[in-house]
Symmetry: C2
Subunit: 211 residues, 2 copies
Amino acid sequence: MSEHHEQTRARLVEAAREVFSQYGFQGATVREICRRADANVAAVNYHFGSKDGLLAEALNFAQLKKLQTENAVADACPEKRLRLFIHDFMLMLLDEKDGSRQCQIMARELVDPTPALDQIVIEAIIPLREFLAGLVREIVGDNMSEAELIRCVQSLFGQCLFYRHSYPVLQRIYPELHYDHQEIEAVASHIADFSLAAMNQLALRTKNAQP
Amino acid sequence: MSEHHEQTRARLVEAAREVFSQYGFQGATVREICRRADANVAAVNYHFGSKDGLLAEALNFAQLKKLQTENAVADACPEKRLRLFIHDFMLMLLDEKDGSRQCQIMARELVDPTPALDQIVIEAIIPLREFLAGLVREIVGDNMSEAELIRCVQSLFGQCLFYRHSYPVLQRIYPELHYDHQEIEAVASHIADFSLAAMNQLALRTKNAQP
DNA sequence: TTTACTTTCAAACGCGTGTTTGATATGTTG
DNA sequence: CAACATATCAAACACGCGTTTGAAAGTAAA
């Protein structure tokens, strides 16, 4: 019995991740989730109390945290680690085959806030910001104020999220666009090239202006 | 009579821009729009046929186009014109006091597509991309492939849109954040500094690698 | 088997949505 | 004035939503 119970729960969570990441929280319907999970409409409220409860369960920051810890212990210079991080991050954001729809749900939450956004900000976004800020600080050294550094981090985030958030537009401009591994690689490389060039240059200027 | 008619229409369009930009198309309700316009619920369908029709009317790319044409005839070097453009664009995206809610509606459409997105892409986004691509081409010269150049334009867009799309998150991280003219100026300056540094550096590398 | 508990299910509830209706008021025209 | 077109309005309609209900099915312990 407990086995089938867990099966239904698990199927609901998995279907919820699919539907939430595809249509957003507001656009997703409980009925569609249950249809994909092959479960009754009442199952969501029985197992999770409400649609909100299901969203909270569907969110899972494990992969995002794993990405950071693995990056932190990587044996490479800060520049290479930033390249690695951007690459992995873009894979999480764009790869449809990947099971990491949680990150895509998060990306939607940024735009369409739900009651779960507070949890997301505290548990996922703020740590991620601080991680990236530390990495950027390693790259630019002390030749940049904290305020400038935070802005650089936001420039990084902005570039990464753009490709996810603006996908509906990009698809209309380039009908043949699809994010296979080659395209993701190219995008990640550009963002890294662009941002490293910018940050090194900005740090250099501050350094030259100081003495 | 025609005067009062036009008044109601105009009030509906203005209220619709407010509500659409605030809650998005899906989140906005016809009743709320009519409440703000001090009109009957049936007024929307009478004057515009449907909620979709009202959205199409509420969209207006005049200000966005004016921004481009004025920028094109500005008497300044490409770098300065890019700075000017980013500044004006961020004002359109972020300034709440400004009457330019159309651009904010557009920014929401990028994420939550509606049937109006096709029109937006064709009439506003593609021309804007080409305008920016031309400006960037002036800056980097021939030292960059077309593909690289487009990616730079997307990095620009990504940074600009980030501050609008991620506003709910930024507000939770910085509760005291609000986009006054000073803050907008600071953000625009950073994006310009960051991007110009990146593009000049990338162009330089390509140039040095070629001969 | 009986009892108690958990899980599933079809059906319905309450609510909010965009939209339609038919009447009423208002202005225009012959 | 009378006839007509236009605009507004309260009310209702049809639909989809998240959620609830009460019965049926399934499972485990006594």
